[in-house]
Amino acid sequence: CATAPTQAPTLRAGDFAMTGRVLIRQSDRADVLRINWAHLGPADTVRLETSLGQTVAEISLTPQRAHVRLGDGREFEAADDASLAREVVGVPVPLRRFAGWLRAEPGAGATGVLYDDAGRVSAMGEAGWQLNYSGYGALEAVPGPSLIEARKEDVVVRVKIETWSRGSDE
């Protein structure tokens, strides 16, 4: 078929590309959006969309910078990922840690890690956030949990994973 303008990212081990939906709630304000997350080595590209598929925000994170372009054309960078997230979704989510959170991988600062009877992470705490995991094996193409919830004070970020493609070793 016609070659795509820019090729889909080739995934290496540890890389992943997921699609799903995310709830971002803070006290009496909440948004439900579609989310696409591509984790390629040290870089992450996150696209938030409306239910009808229009891009609301495209965030790119590299070790050096955190940049966002919004659906209405505004663009900006932020010193750190949490303040960038606050600009985009009104909530200071540590975006650079989120790829690890999606894979239920406790980071260096993780505390209170709990495992289910199959030895999979069911809960953990990190950077003031409480993470809860469920829906392992709910989707055969999704190796990890399919429902991830991160809570901190009056903020809830809940992700339902629909598709997950992993990088391979070759």
Binding site: R21, L23, A30, V32, R34, Q54, G71, G73, K160
Partner: protein
């Protein structure tokens, strides 16, 4: 101009409708990132119910004043005032009060794929999408293509389209399911 005539006919004759829809989202790299389907009901002006059935359960209801969204997996109901949510959105093109020229520049976009097309470009700079194309077949709504500001396109195909069906007013009223958390005003 076929497309524009069909649009005018659609706006004046189709006061309400019931249909199935299939939604495909194609990212700017040409990759299909989502396929979903469900049912769509609307009644002018401004009342509609989008029900995503596959691959997940999500209901979006515009009751004329408020926009309700319920996502079953996320177990969340959000409610927002409709003025801020609707205005110049793709949904407004289909379900609005017919004064589209207020929010859109409309022009005939010729005939292709057996359909007569109209192109609608939002007058608002920050509408969140670049343009919408609507395709009519035998005078009835068949396709809608929404292109956002990132080169991403959503294709929606309407099938089993029923114009002015008998509708239960409960269609455009949203009752949160038991146990679901409701947030918003």
């Amino acid at each position: 101009a076929a497309g524009m005539d069909d649009l005018k006919l659609f706006l004046s004759q189709t006061k309400s409708a019931k249909s199935r829809f299939a939604q495909t989202v194609v990212a700017r790299n040409g990759k299909t990132t989502q396929k979903a389907s469900g049912t769509f009901v609307f009644q002018r002006p401004g009342k509609f119910r989008f029900v995503y059935e596959q691959p997940y359960a999500q209901v979006i209801v515009g009751d004329g004043q408020k926009l309700w969204t319920w996502d079953k997996d996320l177990n969340q109901v959000t409610v927002k005032p409709m003025t801020q949510a609707l205005g110049a959105t793709p949904a407004a093109l289909l379900t609005g009060d017919g004064q589209l020229e207020r929010n859109f520049v409309l022009k005939d976009a010729g005939e292709s794929d057996g359909l007569a097309w109209v192109e609608a470009t939002p007058k608002q700079q920050d509408a969140g999408f670049e343009r919408v194309r609507i395709g009519f077949g035998a005078g009835q709504l068949r396709n809608m293509e929404v292109r956002d500001n990132f080169g991403q396109t959503t294709l929606i195909q309407f099938t089993s389209f029923e114009s002015n069906p008998k509708l239960d007013t409960a269609e455009f009223h949203f009752t949160p399911p038991k146990g679901a958390d409701v947030v918003g005003d």
